[in-house]
Symmetry: C3
Subunit: 650 residues, 3 copies
């Protein structure tokens, strides 16, 4: 079958393969036995076929014999149940046995294959995630806490343990927060946000340690070949900002939940690109056709796989790979789409589209490699705020971090502006606009750094439920929005929240009326101008949106859960001021993005996500990279549904 | 910060504080160590400020060291999982260690602070509730059963264990009924209602024992100061009727699930007042603004906190307190509303409203204290019937005890009549009307006592699914409604139940037509007059509502799940007969209530729960207690939204 | 009370009683003590009353003392929790103690009562079902696997364990697949379909062993009296096809989920009859009025119990029994309907209807006994396909086996054709039409046997998601629909699935348009004629339904999730070709069915399931068995709602 595979890879111009992702049972069939004979054959064959190889350590699932011999390697779940062998991503991150043996297998793989020039990257583990609540993890948590807090007094203060008689008098009293301790109704309902928040941080760090273990083991033999693992976009359990420095490049798996949100994917791409300061990433996995893990797994429409592949490249991908290459015969991914189906045919629509993309990229050559996004807008994305918001009791469980962030990103995306999605610790000096939706937790010196942005003429936008808590999730003992108050020029004493059936219209300055839902902060200007006011309820006439002149710039405060039109109005006010609107701001389904090559060439991507053809004038002169033909500025461009246009901008 | 707190308390006329509710970790930081230094400072300061103190024993949550040293003090949940340290209300009620140590801390607090005259009440534990299913509780259950049943034969008969081969031949075979034994789909689905019912009774009693333990310990030093704990209104797990005798006065926490049911709150107040034969109670907790524990926690509208505080007083409260006084910095109640917010301001709307209420009550002085409600209508509320109905397999899980009870109470409330909500063991001699909705379980001599009410000219109202089972949840071997049949003059052989989408119209005597849903008993009059008949289905023309002349009075039987209009029609037929309608029966949102002071003065409360102003003539002459001005009978009164009117009735 | 019972049985002509179904605690009150005194009295009395007795071994629930003495007899649930004593169907099927003691009690009952001629059948256990995941079962599973697979290599290949590093290197590494191992989100979500599928097979076999144990024990004393257990129709956990050979006759309990699907009940009856090659069965249980176990338990309308009893007989029942005879006083079935209610009355509607049915059957005598259904249509029903489809990840969790099967059965039922519902191993030689909906798994020589049906002129109908996997749930490495492709003359490369809100119209040959939902296979004819095409989406114009000429017959492939109208169109095309339509195909609510007596007499049943009277001409001459009057062909018959007409067809 390998022979058939490679001939089909040739036909589809597939030049890079990821190999060995779940190979542990293969490479270490017994405690003291390592057997690389099969992996040798795979790697030798791939190398012989002159394929680039991304070689995995294969530790994303442990072997059955390991779970049997050392039950400690399995996880204990949130409900307190020790699992037995099964599934994948099944190892306790704190288990010494797991840590030692996973590093050892990585070490041996590095040692054995380091000299293959075909290997262009190492792939550690797989889609790190989940959580463990075993006693080893509880002990690891206590060690982690001892490093974070000088002593128990500090910890008690951070966790506010005088509440509900929780004062800890010995480190050993601290449990992993789970359904058996602080939680009810699942992982988001906790009696002590501080404990749960620290456990989320610890668990992310514990898995990072697993990655570091294996990377270090690889590095013993392979000092230069880059090492990565595949991320998952906006994945809540892992704080990728804390991980990114340890990866040589970022790669990620794009399985959007539906086919109706190109902006959501763009946000994920920009987040992934932002992890390592704008460095290009790999799209490690995408399905050519369907997923299998959802209740309903619709087929990707003709052209969509190509469109989304180009979207990845428009946002910073230097490589686009598929999972899976050939369809699994059995188990839970046998219906996950594949480049090559069970019948091994090349005359399917899916294979044809993959081949067409392959041919297209072949023609393109290395034109895009290493290109950067020249963004002047930053959107702050913060796992701590995400966690703190969503584990909070009150004001509203209906306010979801991703949804709010997406609504602000969507406004930027529809306006066609390039955006860097960055950590709160990022250098903000390069940006004209900083958007910080639901920045619930405000850490370190971020408030003065945001003030700095405004002072020098920039615009800072934040929203309801921002500036509420410090890094320990304790409320600031000052007016809302805490340390952001000075920049925003407002004060909030009270807020209403309601179910989605309640709409309060907000009249915007200039006359437009938009809807607000879920959150209604009663904003009291303290220097700021009122830009929008509530129209209903006892707080009709109260400010909902404000803009504060600060230095040469502005602080915008959006106290209401505005609908998309409202968010877009705010964002476009800001973009207008900085003249940052994209070329086609009135065509929301026409995505535009720019990358600048290492040589300084500006490449423009236009992607038609609508179901209709779009006609636009070319935004500049250059060369159409897909046809090789010159483009004149203003020349009519017809973009069919799912069409892609890439050109240089001279 | 204490200094600031007290100055703000002064501003708001706050004269009473509850202190130390979760103080165990503070007062007993280690097994052999008691440390009252902080509590001393708190109590001394409060006393020095001449504040009344309600001092708690602080045992609502155990300290971390205790759970670590004695895992037996934690609970085992319904799923059979032993918990570890976390949350609150976390102690196994049967644990000897918990019982001994909680009593000891109560004893020491009583001993230490008994002589402070500022202490006007002791507060034991906090919001008792939940359940434990550990082996200690199973053993406690068996002890409890040995007291209830003379021997296993009696128990086997009571539990009907010949069914499904369940005959117990040794007490040790009896398990706590849980997800691991008799239950599926949660606590309401049990194979043996008798076992589950007894466990509910046992668990309520076990926690009562915890209360009694601590009260007894306090009483060693403080023989006279009243002792209470805070109840929670219609809280299913605890049979407050079995508890009430052990409290010196009732207090409760009012956190209504929404702002749309003043009748529901009134019912809860009347239930709480009825626990101790009409004796006034404390409103121990309410939020001045929002809760934090719900998915969506809306803000109390302006005037609502005052309106609801007055409603409590109208229904028997002699004290109104708030939780919380100052906002928590961290943990799961940091967004629960507070009199004083995180910023410590007094210039907020919420603080202003609290202060206005304080000033109002200050002007009122002791005018209301000790006043009683002169009700001639009793509504029977029975935890056993609640439990039996809701753990029953068949006829319908959609019939919910609280909903049915509320619909009858709502009809009474809208008619403006004062109601005592009492136990089935209450003396019924003082009432003209007794309403007993879904009295599923009929215990002791209640049937003849209800007959007595009718004999002497009173009216008794009961409904579908009443009189079905005896105290062991075994069906009466007689026609439905069992021992109530004679009084009701009906017999029911069969009943239909349907989902909420099925409506059967019921035509009432006199011509009106109302809707019935969920339950449709086919009532066969056996002496009773037909007052309403079904209009549809194969039983069209069959009786749905009947009235039976019995002695000089009546027995009403409502066999159908009538809508609110139908229930109100029945209730108003009855009230009319006894001339018990309130002053404004056609204004359902205008609540009226009466209290009679120890001196015999009749006080009338009018509360406008609607969003509109209401104009009515004064129902009698007297003095407006809030303005001090005289009121003439018939004088126009304008009640704005959320307005409160209190006057004497001379 | 027994005296009263028997007089009421007489009144209702009840001639057969099932006795002792949960009697274990009664007959073996302690480890070494057997006590048959009560059962003796019951059996002697029933025999004395000349009642036929179906005597149970009583092992459907174990006694409390047994669970206490041997915790191994209780089950461990899917969540990994060892249960304690409670409920019923509570024994671990692999427990040696349970196996030994249940067989011993069966042996003693057989020995003691074998000589009673009144005993016409033995009833083993009760409604076998559920599952256990304890270590004894895991060990039993491994034993079962060792018999199924020659060695671990074979097992690893069957389960496709190279996926996710799952290769087993020792039998002891294999766990019972549960929430602690391969599953998430419950029993249908598994990482390894092969493991879960084998566990389903094993668990069904393990319980079958329990049945066989007891049957063998009975057979020591009672070699001839038939042995049965009560099945439950379409019950997923037990593969009744693997059980049926071990029962002497089939009996089952009919508790339909609602009163709106007579076709569903008919399907269940036909499935039960098909288990033993068309041999008549018993309806062992049905309620005369209501169930108790549902959230809402509506009352059976007047005439419905009779109608459904006759439906059972029309489809092959030789006996109709009720559960329960007298209402339980307590526990979870006290509200389950009974022939005799709590009050013991005979003047209730329900008792009257039971008596009328009894009188009717009494008049009928033995006319029906042993009659057979002369079906020329077979519907294939396959537990393996059911399991495989519903535990599959992808394409769609919304496609439910029973629903699809029912839609094809419904079409046949509405057309009034007799149908055998049979296993995939059944002899197909006698059928003109074979319908195989969602035959996901294709085992053994079924494909050639289906080809044989077509070759000789028959019609074979199959649908989407058929022919996908082999007996190990591994995909066929060939075009979809796998080995069915030749017969169907089609190939399917890709398929779309969508939520229920998406409808794609399908235009049928001849012009009609029907709706398709959930599944849309893009069918490429490879010899077949197109009988229906999609009308929307990018695959508009693609084939959705095809018919392939094969030999003298046809293979129909329905690639789309057609609505009932679409399915009926296909089925009627097929029935028309074979002239198999029933007498009143245009009256879907008028069920018709035929049985042929051992003497060769053809009996026609007409059952009116609609709410309206139906007038039809008699389809043939004969004698009305319920009135004894002659019927002329074409004579007008008026069938009132719920009416039953039974006549000979001469």
């Amino acid at each position: 079958m390998w022979e058939q595979d490679y001939r089909l890879f040739d036909a589809a111009r597939i030049d890079t393969v990821t190999v060995g992702v779940f190979s542990w049972a293969l490479t270490q069939p017994a405690p003291e036995v390592y057997d690389f004979s099969m992996l040798d054959r795979i790697v030798q064959r791939a190398a012989g076929e002159r394929r680039n190889i991304c070689l995995a350590t294969g530790t994303g699932a442990h072997p059955a014999w390991l779970a049997r011999a050392f039950p400690e390697v399995t996880r204990t779940d949130f409900e307190g149940r020790r699992h037995r062998f099964g599934q994948r991503h099944n190892s306790c991150p704190s288990s010494p046995v797991f840590r030692q043996l996973s590093a050892e297998v990585a070490r041996r793989i590095g040692e054995r294959y380091a000299d293959y020039p075909s290997i262009i990257a190492w792939h550690v583990g797989n889609e790190y995630g989940g959580a463990c609540y075993c006693d080893l993890c509880a002990a690891g948590f206590r060690d982690w806490l001892r490093k974070r807090y000088a002593n128990l007094d500090e910890l008690n203060a951070a966790w506010y343990t005088t509440f509900w008689s929780h004062t800890f008098t010995d480190w050993d009293q601290i449990e992993a927060p789970s359904a058996l301790t602080e939680h009810w109704r699942g992982p988001d309902h906790t009696a002590f946000q501080g404990i749960t928040l620290d456990y989320l941080r610890f668990m992310s760090d514990a898995m990072l340690t697993n990655f570091i273990d294996e990377k270090a083991a690889l590095r013993q033999s392979t000092p230069d070949t880059p090492v990565t693992t595949n991320f998952m976009g906006m994945y809540r359990p892992i704080d990728y900002h804390r991980w990114a420095a340890h990866l040589d490049f970022v790669s990620w798996d794009n399985y959007p939940p539906d086919d109706r949100s190109p902006a959501r994917m763009a946000l994920a791409h920009d987040l992934m690109r932002g992890l390592k300061d704008g460095q290009p990433f790999w799209l490690m996995e995408q399905t050519p056709s369907y997923t299998a893990s959802r209740d309903v797994n619709p087929l990707k429409r003709p052209g969509v796989m190509r469109l989304w592949s180009w979207q990845a490249m428009a946002h910073g991908a230097d490589a686009v790979l598929f999972f899976q290459m050939r369809a699994s015969r059995g188990a839970c991914e046998k219906y996950h789409g594949a480049v090559i189906g069970h019948a091994g045919r090349s005359d399917t629509r899916v294979f044809r589209e993959v081949s067409q993309l392959g041919a297209e990229l072949d023609r393109l050559g290395g034109a895009l490699l290493g290109a950067r996004t020249p963004a002047r807008v930053a959107l702050l994305f913060d796992w701590d705020s995400w966690w703190a918001l969503e584990i909070s009791d009150g004001p509203s469980r209906l306010v979801r971090y991703q949804q709010v962030v997406l609504s602000y990103y969507q406004a930027l995306w529809e306006a066609g502006v390039d955006v860097d999605v960055v950590a709160v610790t990022a250098d903000l000096a390069r940006y004209d606009v900083v958007v910080a939706p639901v920045l619930h937790m405000l850490k370190g010196d971020l408030a003065p750094r945001l003030e700095e942005v405004a002072k020098r003429g920039g615009s800072v936008v934040t929203t309801f439920l921002s500036g509420r808590v410090d890094e320990n999730d304790n409320a600031f003992l000052m007016d809302v929005p805490g340390p952001l108050g000075r920049l925003m020029g407002v004060r909030v004493d009270e807020w209403d929240v309601r179910g989605p059936e309640v709409v309060n219209p907000v009249r915007l300055r200039g006359g437009g009326k938009v809807a607000a839902q879920l959150v209604f902060e009663l904003v009291q200007p303290d220097g700021a101008e009122v830009m929008g006011t509530y129209q209903a309820d006892f707080y009709a006439g109260t400010a909902a949106v404000t803009r504060n002149a600060f230095g040469s710039g502005h602080g915008w405060y959006v106290g209401a859960g505005l609908d998309q039109a409202g968010v877009s109005w705010v964002i476009r006010q800001v973009l207008d001021r900085h003249e940052l609107m994209g070329p086609y701001p009135d065509l929301p389904d026409l995505e535009s993005a720019v990358r600048v090559t290492p040589e300084g060439e500006r490449l423009l991507f236009l992607l038609n996500h609508s179901a209709d053809a779009i006609d636009v004038p070319a935004p500049g002169a250059g060369v159409d990279l897909l046809t090789g033909r010159p483009v004149e500025r203003g020349q009519p461009l017809r973009l069919k549904p799912s069409a892609v246009h890439v050109q240089t901008m001279s």
